[in-house]
């Protein structure tokens, strides 16, 4: 009885398949143009899915990542102050980026600044194409320009947030807001344009000085700029009240540890996403990023184990972050094994910078923004010049890149580092001085004692009744 039914079922399947659209024997063979278009659509789907996730990952780095990493490092009475800075910048910098930031950084490829293209998202957002009578999406390489704008925008958010580590626990919130607007506009956007917008530091650009620099994900644009500016902030604003005598211990290292883990994961978006496509180089960048974080963690931990007798959680977390900072410029240019070396170097060098150098000079870089980002970023930019290989990204059309393979990009790296340092120092100093005269940078002494959560925001972080 079951045999006829089985054959009937088989026949039904065969007929059903035969009448599916596109699979009938009577269908025409699609032409090559259609096939090519379908293939491009499929590729776009792959690239864009990856890149949109990366946009989310980088935003995730600012909050909860940085918010928790920094939040745990300050005293209890200032935890909301730090988190508010991160959260508020997500709102503030996004609006600036939409209005003019993207345009200033990426409009055209002139030597110094954007040319006005993309103001108010014109030329970025979808528009009606009168010729084809349909909506069109401007493209940036293999991804929609919207995706590129979003991705870069997340960098524009996190960079000023990093600087907050230097003036934590003593800067007026109003001053931080105005500072971030000015710094983002006058330091970040020009620097971004110089390195990534075809300007004076862009590798291979007509205007490039000494051939430009290799900066895959923001060693100069993000880390050196924010780290060095952070140092200037710490020096100009002075030390926290009670520095050296009061109990300034981190109030919640559990936040800091989990925040560091979130930064590590988010950094895959930051670094591997800087390939702006889903391909082999993205995988290579991902691997270099991960390996550098791992080696950085071990580097700092073993440094502490050896020097102090015990490895600390804060050291391990900081080491991972140092490794990630260091590899940022190099991530699409170096292979995984050199990335291990770079991470380990960063772990040790930054541990030394935060521990020994800072106490020797006595500046109060509260959360080690300079010690990790300034020092780590500079180290990374230099080592990029050493380890960069055309085997990862053949950016110079066959020419060798790094010092180790016989190339000459190291010069361009050093020039870019110098320019970034000097530009960041000078402009940040001027902004700070002007702001100090106009509205004052620091909270009053009594507010500093009370804590910024109450003085700036009227709130308490923890109310355990």
């Amino acid at each position: 009885m079951s045999v006829p039914i089985r054959w009937l079922a088989l026949a039904l399947v065969f007929v059903g398949t035969a009448i599916q659209p596109g699979l009938t024997l009577a269908q025409e063979t699609p032409d090559l143009v259609t096939v090519a278009a379908k293939a491009e659509e499929a590729a776009l789907a792959g690239h864009n899915a990856w890149m949109l996730v990366c946009c989310a990952l980088v935003l995730f780095m600012t909050a909860p990542g940085l918010a928790m990493f920094y939040g745990g490092l300050v005293r209890k009475k200032n935890v909301l102050g730090v988190m508010m800075q991160c959260l508020f910048l997500m709102g503030l910098m996004t609006v600036l980026w939409a209005l003019y930031g993207y345009s200033l950084a990426f409009g055209g490829d002139g030597p110094y600044l954007g040319n006005g293209d993309y103001l108010f998202m014109e030329g970025v957002q979808q528009f009606w194409n009168a010729e084809t009578n349909s909506p069109e999406t401007p493209m940036a390489g293999v991804i929609p320009m919207l995706t590129h704008m979003l991705f870069q925008g997340m960098f524009f958010i996190i960079t000023p947030a990093l600087i907050c580590g230097a003036f934590a626990e003593r800067m007026k919130f109003s001053a931080m807001v105005v500072f971030s607007i000015l710094w983002g506009t006058l330091v970040y956007c020009p620097l971004c344009h110089w390195v990534w917008g075809g300007g004076i530091l862009a590798f291979g650009s007509d205007h490039a000085w000494s051939g430009g620099a290799l900066d895959f994900a923001g060693g100069t644009v993000v880390h050196i700029s924010s780290g060095v500016s952070a140092l200037i902030c710490a020096l100009v604003m002075g030390r926290r009240k009670g520095f050296g005598s009061s109990d300034l211990r981190p109030h919640n290292l559990t936040y800091t540890t989990l925040g560091a883990a979130m930064l590590w994961v988010g950094w895959f978006g930051f670094n591997a996403g800087s390939e702006l496509a889903s391909d082999g180089l993205a995988s290579s960048a991902f691997a270099a990023t991960h390996f550098s974080a791992a080696a950085g963690l071990l580097g700092w931990s073993f440094y502490e184990w050896f020097k102090l007798g015990k490895p600390s959680v804060l050291g391990a977390a900081s080491g991972a972050v140092a490794g990630l900072v260091c590899i940022t410029p190099a991530t699409g240019f170096v292979n995984p094994m050199p990335a291990l070396a770079m991470g380990a170097a960063a772990g040790i060098v930054c541990a030394f910078a935060c521990g020994t150098v800072k106490s020797k000079f006595g500046y109060d870089d509260s959360l080690d923004a300079f010690g990790v980002h300034g020092v780590g970023g500079t180290l990374g930019a230099v080592l990029t010049g050493i380890f960069a290989t055309r085997a990862c990204w053949d950016i110079a059309e066959g020419e060798k890149l790094g010092f180790l393979e016989g190339g000459s990009v190291l010069t361009g790296q050093l020039v870019a580092i110098g320019v970034t340092w000097i530009f960041s120092i000078v402009v940040t100093f001027v902004i700070l001085k002007v702001l100090d005269i106009a509205i004052g940078l620091r909270v009053s002494e009594s507010d500093e004692v009370l804590g910024l959560d109450l003085s700036e925001h009227g709130e308490e972080g923890y109310i355990f009744t």
């Binding site: 211990r249 900081s318 541990a351």
Partner: protein, 112 residues
């Protein structure tokens, strides 16, 4: 009546409470405190910055008791809380002028 304040190690609190209950002590108050005497603190290091943490966490147990039971309480606490290591704590005995039960308004010995 007397007030007895005993500074104790955290992990001894349960033992002391049980021992006192066995002696018929029906009520007590506990507060988290920090302090130091001969027991020294420790150092903590955060990214190379050292902090001397002098205050050691302890618990303070407060019991109000009739004069005739003071010695029993003191002996019980010492017997239960002693480890022989520096940091065992201290007991302070002070005179108390009055005790009032809020619910009923009873005063003096009745309220203890």
């Amino acid at each position: 009546m007397k007030k007895i304040e005993a500074i104790l190690r955290h992990f001894k609190l349960e033992d002391v409470k049980n021992a006192l209950s066995e002696q018929g002590i029906a009520g007590m108050t506990v507060i988290e405190v920090r302090g130091f005497g001969r027991q020294k603190g420790h150092t903590e290091t955060y990214r190379g910055t050292e902090y001397a943490v002098d205050f050691v966490p302890k618990v303070k147990l407060e019991v109000v008791i009739d004069d005739d039971r003071v010695q029993t309480v003191i002996d019980t606490i010492i017997k239960t809380a002693q480890t022989g290591q520096i940091g065992d704590g201290k007991i302070f005995v002070s005179d108390l002028s009055d005790t009032i039960r809020i619910r009923t308004g009873e005063t003096g010995g009745e309220a203890v």
